[in-house]
Symmetry: D2
Subunit: 424 residues, 4 copies
Amino acid sequence: MAQCAYHDQLINIRRELHQFPEEGWTEFCTTAYIVKYLRELGYEVLLGEKVVSRKDCLGRDPKLVAQAIETAKERGVCECLLNEMQELTGCCAVLDTGRPGPTVALRFDIDCNNVQESGADTHRATAEGWASKRPGLMHACGHDSHISSGLAVARWVMDHKDELNGKLKIVFQPAEEGVRGAAAVAASGIVDDCDFFLSSHIAMMAKTGEIITSPVGFLCTTKYDITFKGRPAHAGIEPNAGRNALAAACHCVTQLLGIPRHGSGMTRVNVGRIVAGEGRNVIPVNAKLVMEVRGETGDINKFMATETENIVQGVAKSFGVEYNIEKMGEAVDLFNDKELVDMLDDVCSKTEGVTKVLHEVNFGGSEDATILARRVQEKGGKAAYFVLGSDRAGGHHTAEFDIDESSLDIGMKIYAEMLKRLMK
Amino acid sequence: MAQCAYHDQLINIRRELHQFPEEGWTEFCTTAYIVKYLRELGYEVLLGEKVVSRKDCLGRDPKLVAQAIETAKERGVCECLLNEMQELTGCCAVLDTGRPGPTVALRFDIDCNNVQESGADTHRATAEGWASKRPGLMHACGHDSHISSGLAVARWVMDHKDELNGKLKIVFQPAEEGVRGAAAVAASGIVDDCDFFLSSHIAMMAKTGEIITSPVGFLCTTKYDITFKGRPAHAGIEPNAGRNALAAACHCVTQLLGIPRHGSGMTRVNVGRIVAGEGRNVIPVNAKLVMEVRGETGDINKFMATETENIVQGVAKSFGVEYNIEKMGEAVDLFNDKELVDMLDDVCSKTEGVTKVLHEVNFGGSEDATILARRVQEKGGKAAYFVLGSDRAGGHHTAEFDIDESSLDIGMKIYAEMLKRLMK
Amino acid sequence: MAQCAYHDQLINIRRELHQFPEEGWTEFCTTAYIVKYLRELGYEVLLGEKVVSRKDCLGRDPKLVAQAIETAKERGVCECLLNEMQELTGCCAVLDTGRPGPTVALRFDIDCNNVQESGADTHRATAEGWASKRPGLMHACGHDSHISSGLAVARWVMDHKDELNGKLKIVFQPAEEGVRGAAAVAASGIVDDCDFFLSSHIAMMAKTGEIITSPVGFLCTTKYDITFKGRPAHAGIEPNAGRNALAAACHCVTQLLGIPRHGSGMTRVNVGRIVAGEGRNVIPVNAKLVMEVRGETGDINKFMATETENIVQGVAKSFGVEYNIEKMGEAVDLFNDKELVDMLDDVCSKTEGVTKVLHEVNFGGSEDATILARRVQEKGGKAAYFVLGSDRAGGHHTAEFDIDESSLDIGMKIYAEMLKRLMK
Amino acid sequence: MAQCAYHDQLINIRRELHQFPEEGWTEFCTTAYIVKYLRELGYEVLLGEKVVSRKDCLGRDPKLVAQAIETAKERGVCECLLNEMQELTGCCAVLDTGRPGPTVALRFDIDCNNVQESGADTHRATAEGWASKRPGLMHACGHDSHISSGLAVARWVMDHKDELNGKLKIVFQPAEEGVRGAAAVAASGIVDDCDFFLSSHIAMMAKTGEIITSPVGFLCTTKYDITFKGRPAHAGIEPNAGRNALAAACHCVTQLLGIPRHGSGMTRVNVGRIVAGEGRNVIPVNAKLVMEVRGETGDINKFMATETENIVQGVAKSFGVEYNIEKMGEAVDLFNDKELVDMLDDVCSKTEGVTKVLHEVNFGGSEDATILARRVQEKGGKAAYFVLGSDRAGGHHTAEFDIDESSLDIGMKIYAEMLKRLMK
């Protein structure tokens, strides 16, 4: 298969970013890298609240953000750029061709995982010396390749801008892991004027050469952190004087796990973590639950979320404790518009390297690009999300994750051809 | 031991009433018997709402009441008397000596138990032919002897009324079982003007000849019936559409049983019965819990009751069901006034047949005479409750329960002597 | 549409049986009616343990059976026939043509529902005087029409026996409601030698003229009655001495409702009824749960059933109570064999009155014909189950249920034509 | 009040030890200090397994022990002494007078609390510069004064050894906090030959000058750490494949809190802390509960402990998870022998500074000296535990805790006089 003209760039940038992974909402160095690259190409690049609505950020830890800003300064990111970011990561490149035409948005996500990269010689990044240099953090979901793809597409656009009409927005979205970032990006309004929206993910269940142009089964999900606050008392002397947050939390869990099944489709509920109590002989004061619900459709997920809220309120009443429910992440379902699926099908069928075009394959997970896609669709635009197949060395989110980099050429060609047709 | 002059009456009336036991709030025949006897003696007898506050009746089942009225009619109780009762059982004999002096109240309870009397030849009532003629109902707590004692005292009073001063009220209280009746009698105000209040129970933990003049450890208790009402749905087709009253009830139970221990004293909680649901494949709509809490003091019992209410409300919120909490019974703790205990001690020490006077013996149960006693005390009067020892054939509330009838003579003498001193 | 030759019989027998509905395992009069009819036609009719394996009966209440036998005697069913039944309902007509050929089994279910039939004039059976004469019992799922169809087919076969080859078995199965009867019929081995198995249900989601030749989504299900047995104690005096069966039952429920969702498909769990405890102030001794699990596949249902058993055992251990799990019903999933579906499709396409042939329509419930179908398939035979559309006056299992009797002619023609082809 | 001859030593050693508090099982520096002091006085000092049965250590964290040994080395404790300790803290001074007489054991506990000492100027230790130098650790229960008292008594004994007969053992017990250490000391057999056992606590509910010679209401208690181990699974993709340790833990809590009240006396149960689960979307694998039960008597506590174990086992069965129950601490009730109480009463009545001798005051907590006292009593010896009153600046286990050091003189005199009489 012939490599595309941007082959080396696709790989080099991916490997460079791979070495300094940053988790959701802390991608200051990564954002700085992207911004610099895009501005050198001549893009207008929007930052901070122009791209991310601060009040709609989910699961953003101010302490981690502050640390990350310090780290960025130490690594030489200039203060002026950090000021421009307004403590918010991600950016949006904008190109207006000046010619009438549609507005097209592409979206690439940029954060990493809380995974310790494999130190085994059999792991390519380790063997070749470009593994993560940050303990406990790793691009184990391929977002490094998403960024390098986005930047390569950005360069291709500049190389072909005279052939294109209309307007292009390339969104580099923070905090996809935990489906935390898209809601704030959508709320900023940055994609509200878009006629078309396109995004993709590398690998998943598809091998190199396979493209899934209409994945289905995106699970709607809502992530919550729930806290209960009680009142301490000596467990021996006057247990009655306490308000037991741990008891509330445990009864909350037994109720949450029993949220009814739904007749219209699949549901999920998981309390993934609980920490409660202070000491063996003290009626517990503090309790925290880290949990999530999922539903096959938005309505079903809403049912799960409403039940969750009722249970938390009820338990707080039962035990006389205070409660707090904080939404930590959110994704919705997704329905690719037929016009774009048909175009993708046609493009893929003519793209060198594509061996199989698949439809209706189950995505089997959550992805917050769905929130941006739905925003575009709600405003009258059309959206599609595809899976760019790639052979994997290990599963997503594992220490051995790696992709077949040759698949990046295929993705590049698809994006380029799609832009040609959309912005013709 | 010399029998008192009222010996035969004490036994005959007891045995007659034993054959037609009536459960709480349905004692229409029993009340009619008492009223007739008292009026023949010349007492003014108050009935209906003069003695029982309708809105304060606890655990009163209108269906059972209606049936009992029918039964009473069939058994020849005249309609005029039933009309006078206003569907409320119990009565109060009043005697005003016309001479200045204190107002004294005596209280005797009149209802039976839901117990099937033993058919064994070894059971005296059966062997001698005066066992209960009503299946599933039995005077298994000795209230038949309480009534006969009350009537014998009433006769003694008439026989000695010229020696007495002040005013006497003899209250025949309905529905002591389940501690349901006293609250409504107290609320009628019938004992509000009393300077002294005296009541007693036969047997308990004391043998014939023993009198406990200051029993302690009366457990405060509140009895509740709790219902939840949900919404049905087919459990296979759309379980999400239901509101599960059975699930609410079960979580309510798991929470109730976990109400914290109290640092200041003993507590109890029991859900004695639960009935919920309609069919195997229907999300349950109806659930009922029959429960009680207890506490060593009024404050502790109040703590238990408040926790119960919070839990019921919380669970209803959690499961989106309606709830109802109905108080079905209530008793408080009791502290005999020293003046009356001293008088009882002295009287008992001089009463033939009394072999031992005991103090501070644990009552180990609940008794709603406590509510009347407290009412008198709150209004400035003095109250005492004593246990009239009696050898038992079987435990209280069992099919083999019987008393040593000779103990009734002792009780008679104590009441008579106490009245002599109080109304001197 | 031309009525079939058996039209009057189809309707008259249905309406006659409709008036004397019998619930599962008590269909003695119904069975006697069927046997008499079949034997008059000349069939060999098998009864009792030849058709129903006693030890595999699910959800069979010996008290109801004994009452039903008494009722049958009163209604004149002869003792000899009752003896032949061996207290087991249902039967199997057998016809051996004497000519080589396949063995074909047809299956019709015969029990009624615990539903009070509508007394409204708008309800046809009531208006026309052929409504149920048994309070609380009604053929509200159309099994009356199944019987009349089975008997009409039996007559058609006798009318055409010279054109048929091989052997025919017409199974009249008891206790389909609650999916209780088929397991015992299957275990008797009565269908083990069958090359083809055919059964059907009236109405469901299909209208008159519609035939669903390959319904899908039969839910596997297992029904359990669970009991816990504890030890009584006075809830006030020594609650520690009891073993609380009610508490065990409630914790069992909270755990059962939380059985995890399954990644491979739909699940259900419902505790439809709970009765526990004896009295307000007694630690409860007895508890009973009426429940069911369902799963989209046999494996998933097995997962639910295993989890249920683990929970019951665990809770019994936690609370020191005895437990019993009794299987009360069972159904599996079903996959029609293509050969029979194709044949049904072709037959239906040529049957007068059939307006639409549907495939892959969701059955959305459980049906224990599936157990017989699977038994045949496991032994190497082929099976199919179809839905005979019929306009309904009210939903299945409701007081207003009725069918469009004209659909019975269509069913008759399909069965006849299928037998012609299978036994050619 | 005249200070005793050991006044300065009592205070200086207390303040010195106060600055380097060590928590239970890590008192290596403290033990070294004590050993050095005792050996210089001429005592035989037993260490390691001679005093502490390794396998009976409760709540001993090997990691903390290893760190503490390193710290001890850094602080100059010689390796030879550490070797002698065999990783076990605490010691026992032995003096054999060589003259016939009883064997007497005194017991002083030596560990500190996990409390951050107050930095306020109003806190004397802080103001005067002898506050704890170890963040998060503080002698907030007065064990520093217990040690200085024990060492002063040891010196007094050497100063008066010619007046004493028999044998003396002075036990310095590790890990009293959490009632963890005494069981292992008892199991070593070190007090098995003792005729008399004496121990005490500073302050509690008694003021300077008050001595409680027969405290009551020592709560029996058992402390457990409970862990559940499950199996991970992706909460979205196949929740059924996991074994949910968090769910098990929460149901365990709801059951534990509902352990029945006990008719014979007070009970307590508290789950003071729970940590479970790994991540939001993973079925939780690990769960840990930190809990305790208490009972008014040994039998009641045993009831609570047995119920706990049954519940843990039952829940593990229900959820298919592994479990571990580790006993982390234990204390029993205590009944002072009359002979010693009488002697204490007499001694106190003659001791300068003692203003009030109290009996039957409620201790209202747990103390593991009870285990050593019971061991001595079981072997035929006599035991007593008294409270040495002392005005407090703040409550026990609080950051402001301090004692009135003048009370140490009183304690010194009582111990000395008791030894004079016991070893006369």
